[in-house]
Amino acid sequence: MSKAKPRTFFRLILWEIESCLNLPILSLIVASAIFAVLVQSSYAWALANSYLNLYSGASTIFLILTLVASTLFSHSFAGSLGRGELKRMLSYPVKRWQIFISKVIALTLIVFVAYASAFTLNLYLSSLSLLEPMFYVSLFSMFLHLLLVCTISVCISMVSKSELMSILVSFLLVLGLDNAFDARSYFTSSGRFRYIFGYFEQLTHPNVSIFGMVVDKPVTVEQVTVSIALPLLITAIALTASFVYFTRKMEVD
């Protein structure tokens, strides 16, 4: 019996990307990303020619990113179960892990590229160089947040098997965490972003006087490590659990 052709996996990724590009939701993603960036730059205290604009209004970006990512991931996982697409896909000679991983990679890529592209507007709006290191720090924080939302949505999709339920629960869970904890907590997206941004700001812009606007006191290595490690750890655990369930246990009826 021949084994799965290695290219099957990449074909599935391309298929997923192509399917997403044909969705009306894609224009919503792009529009929401641009909107989030524009809202951010319209803050009254936004500073001219300052990298700090990358930080201001991050909550808007994270909020919209949470909504969009949970919608897209829930649509692809729980939605494909409900519509029977997953049943059809699993009737072809493809392995379950290939479907799972290809969906995660393709959707993460689409959302991240859409938001990262829109986020580059900031460079123009704040007259920043493409080499501005804090731009990449912000992108990295967005990516971490995206991974977390992706993981939660996939996990809830597996459990609920309902697209609407998954969107609502994922969104409200992340939003609830952000509101339930103190703004400086590691459990909030803004808290983690604060530490990551503050730490790298110390390294790259040590002499800038507006330092105090981001954090009250210098950020320690431990703080930034936890801020990066926590979402990665949650992602690793929850995504592995979802993966094992999807590939070994899940029944598609």
Partner: protein, 308 residues
Amino acid sequence: MDTLIVDTKNLVKTFGKIVALNNLNLQAPKGISGFVGKNGSGKTTTIGVLLGLIRSNGGTATVFGLDCWRDSFEIRQRLGVMHETNAYPGSFSGRRFLVHVAKLYGVSQVDQTVNELLKDVGLAEAQDKPIKAYSAGMFKRLGLAQALIGDPELAILDEPTANIDPLGRITLLEKIKGMHEKHGTSFLISTHILSDLEKICDWLIIIDSGKIVDQGYMGNLTEKYSASIYKIEVSNPQLFAEAVQKLSAVDRVWVENDKVFCKVNNPEVFSEEIPQIASGLKLRLKSFQQMLGTLEEIYTQTVGEKPR
């Protein structure tokens, strides 16, 4: 019997307290097999188990001699499936979709294969239309094309003719029969439109409440069930049915379209007694004939009611 392609032994599947499959012993040889049963009888669950989409709670299920859950991938390399639901990507054209599926099956000459299939299923003219613009019949034909694209040894079709107009149904059935004759593809067709199966099936499997009621070659089943059924036309069918029911030679009586149907266990005694009963009740015996078996009659006898 030819080599078995599908074989299940004491297959059990429960969903909570609901028993979907209850010691199911299904067998399907090479050829075109019909899989019939009313709604909720366990047809789709059985197909789910055969495809490795659903895990059974007990018993064994094999396709091509391979375990359906453990060797699901190897099985799916050798079969094609058409599900009941039309879950195709609406924004893709029929052709684009089939090209993608062909690549997943590792088809070497993708364009040629897709062109031939589109022509075979009668979708050549609509190949560049987006799938969402397809009619119900076109959906089914696309489903058939994607099930056959990998040149499978077995194609499992779940309700292939549901929601299609009569002409479309005839065309689709002809395609299926043509595919079997041309490529030697075996089919397992799940449906509750019995008249469709009658035209093309070699082997019939009847399921009810998660159990196989009977299975076998169509000719054998027809012979087995039709020999004991009689159709009688009398002036008062209800009165006649009540009287006939009391005969020891009769197992079951039912009235349908003003005709009395009897399942008998002793045809000779039954034939002698019928004219006597009619004259005794002063009824006019219009006709009295042994049934020539149809699939619907076999089904009615085995499952006990007409298919819904």
